[in-house]
Every structure is written in structure tokens, then in C-alpha cells.
Amino acid sequence: MNSFRLFFVGGLTSYRALFYWLSPTIYIPSLIVAPIFQILLFAYIGRSAGLQSDVFYVTGNAIQYAAIPCLFAMSQTVSGERYQNTLHAILVSPANRFPLFVGRALPVMGNAAFVSAFSFAAGCVILGVSLPAGSIPGLAVVILVAAFSCTGLGLTNAAVSLRVRENAVLSNVIFGFLLIFTGANVPISELPTWMQDVSHVLPLTHAIQAARDLAAGEPFSDVTGLLATELGIGIAYLAGGLALLRVFEWQGRKHATLEQL
């Protein structure tokens, strides 16, 4: 019961405390307008290069942009606590770390799914992309799964934030890697073999492919394999993130470096 309360109530409370500054004047330009322009930029580069149709870039970039809230918000769950001098109070508590950190991830995931869905819809409207009506419920599921798997990567990023000072730069770098390696803008088959191998173990790659398949009119049953793989990747990153948090927390206690910037 205590863990449930920590997961839901604690997660929501800490999210509200850590993101008190996220007012509409910050949220709208950064998470509503920016992804739409990312879609437009790559759609126009695609037109310029004569590579793919607009739907390719709408699906790729709308889902890939979930990485921004996932990576930055999850790293904020550690760096924000450190900045407010509350990290030691969190880590000294006897609370179970799983509901403590995964509870914080739940609102992040919800926000990422919203950002992704909104930019998807806006991209379709602006570029005149029409999707089969039957694909929309499936796309909603894809977006949720993508948000979950990327939040797993975000938790790993949060753990690394216990050690890395420039976590905003790190989040930007991971975002850039995902932009290239997930096939958001370049078909995976056009990338060198080693990049294709890397792309298969990253979050979002399989979700983007699933979204493209659904947008092309394939039934949901045909993409369940891709979604299962995406889910598995998300679980692996989530588990890895929790393990890293444990290791870095232990190291931080041992070397008295929790608050060190």
C-alpha cells in the first residue's frame, strides 16, 4: 500500500514540485510549437532531397520528439532535486527506489505521449497528410508504447545525471543520436550496417516503424511484433536505469559526492 502511495501520490507531487516553472509561456513554445517546426524542417529537407513523402517525416519526427520531455524531464528528477538541495533527503529515505523513481516517470510518460500525439496531429493538418481512420487507435497505442520506452532511456539518463555535470548537454546529445539512429528522417536501410545494428537496440526505432506501417494502412495485428520489441527495449532501459541509480547512489554515499556539481 505504501509503495502504491509512493508511486502515484509521490510521483505526482514530485513532478509538480520539480516542474513548478513549466508555465504555458514555456510549455507552448518548447513542447507544442518546436516539434511542429522540426517536422516541417525535415519534411522540406525531404522534399528538397526528393527522398520520402511527408507522412514519413510526420510519423518519424512526431514520435521522436517524445525524447525531449522524456530525456530532459527524467534527468530533472535528479538534477532538479540536487539544485533544490533535496537530493540527499530523497536518497537518505528508506523508500523503495522502484516506486520512488518509476512513479516520477509516469507523469513524464503522459506528457511525452501528449506532445507526440499533438505534434503528429498538427503535422498531418499543416502538411495535408491524411491517415486511414482505422489506424488512429493503433497509432495512439504506438505513441504510448514509444513514450514508455523512451522514458526508460530517460531513467538511465537520470541515473547518469548523478555523475555527469552537464546533463542538459548529455540530453541534447542523446536526442541527436536518436534523431539519426531511429530512422526518424533517414530510412534505416540507407544507414551503414553498424548504424542499423545500433538502431535496433534503441527506443523509438520500432515504434516509428510501427507508426509508419499503420499510416500505410496495415492492420494493427501486423505491428504487434514491433510493439512487443519496443516494449521489451523500454523495460530493459528502465531496469538498466534503476540498476545504475543504485550503483551511482552507492558510489555517491561512499565518496560523499551526491551534492557535488
Binding site: L40, S48, E166, I180
Partner: protein, 258 residues
Amino acid sequence: MSQAFRLFWTGWVFNVKNLTMSGFFILNATISPIFFATIAHYMFASGARPGSGLVYASLGAGMMGIWSSVLFGSGGLIQWQRWQGTLEYVIGVPPRLIVVVLPMTVATASIGLYSIASTLLWGRIIFGLPLDFVHPAWFVVALVGSIVSLGLLGLVLSSTFVLLRNANSLSNLLEYPVWLVTGLLISLSLLPGWTRPISWVLAPTWGIRGIRYAALGGDPVFPIVMCAALGLIYLAIGHYTLGYFEVRARKSATLALR
């Protein structure tokens, strides 16, 4: 005049060194453009219309880095001085405010040189990009002209963003649209006609055109002249808005307020 020039030079050198010591600025200025150059390279290489390929993509991505440096560096400049507690000194010293702020904004644009250098080096080392430019001397002139004009645009940003409470989110908002509308990685003819006047009043449009003409062939003189003309207009606007900010902050005694 010579005193103002000396102050500009000293301020520029100091701020370039200062920004070079910032891991945040340097990593963002070097790594992010490489990501965009790589994506653009693969997109043009795989597409049906490859165009000038990697040189085109590398130069455009480098200019994207310069714009990002100006946008975040100059847009948040006065706010950062305020956070660091140095704004009072910047305003209180005997020289005019514009002579103190201008080297800072040109320095943020100069940091963008790391972006151009990193995308060209990356292209050379990883993709075998040929660096034999058609007009190497004009390339240097176009690059310097672009940086100065973007630095002057930074002067306008620094003095107007400070009046807004959430300047950082405005910076986030303006990054992609300016990359798009100035044609850094696309042909402007693909964009709707109503975007054309917006492109014309933004220095990156002419800067990248001059740099590309110098590197790939074409007449870079007109774009360089346009950079210079726009730079003078930005200087006039920045002079006015900076003066407005200074008077307003002094009158209402809100200089150090966050």
C-alpha cells in the same frame, strides 16, 4: 573612436575565451551541427535529387550552429549578466552600453565558427568531403561578414528578449523556424511565397548564400553586401532598443531584479 575599437577588441577576445571555457556552449556548438549535417548528408545522398550533397549540408548545418549560438547566447545575454551579478557593472562603467554589449553578441556569433569547423572537419574525416572551395578568399570574407551580421542581429535579440519574462522559451521557439525560413538546408523556392520577405530581413539567409556561392561557385558579392546592409540596420535597431532598456531599468530601478 580608437578607444571604442580597443574596447570592442578586448571585449570580443575576453568573451570568446569565456564562452570557449563553457562546456555547454562548446559541446552544443560542435556536436549538434554534426548531427544535422549527418542527417542531411544521408537524406541528400539517398534522395532522388542529391544536389551539392555533403558540402551543401555541412555549410548549412554549420550556419545552423551559428544561429543557435546567437539565439541562446545573445538572447539570454543580459539575463545571464543579471544572474551572475555583473549587470550593474556592465551598465555602470563609463563607456556607452552598446560598446560593452556589442563585443559580447559578436562573440556569441564567433563561437559559431566551431560549428562550421566541426561540420567541415566531420565531413572531411568521415565522408571524405572535398574542401577545395571555388573562391577561398571570398569564403573567408563571407564567413566573417555572416558572423558580424549575426552578431549585430544578436544585439537586437539581447536588448529585446530582456523585456520578456521567458526569453529562453522564445529562443526555443525561434530556433527551428529560422533554420527553415532562411533556407539553411533547403531551397527557399520550396517554401510558400509569404515567407520570402521574412527570409530577406534575416542575416542567415544572405550569410549562407554568400558562403555557399564562395564555396561551390557563384557570385558571393551581393549576399555579402546584403549582410553588411542588414548588419547596419540591426545596429541602428539595437542601439535604440538597448538605450530604451537602459533608461527603463534605471528609471524603475529594476536592473538587478529577476
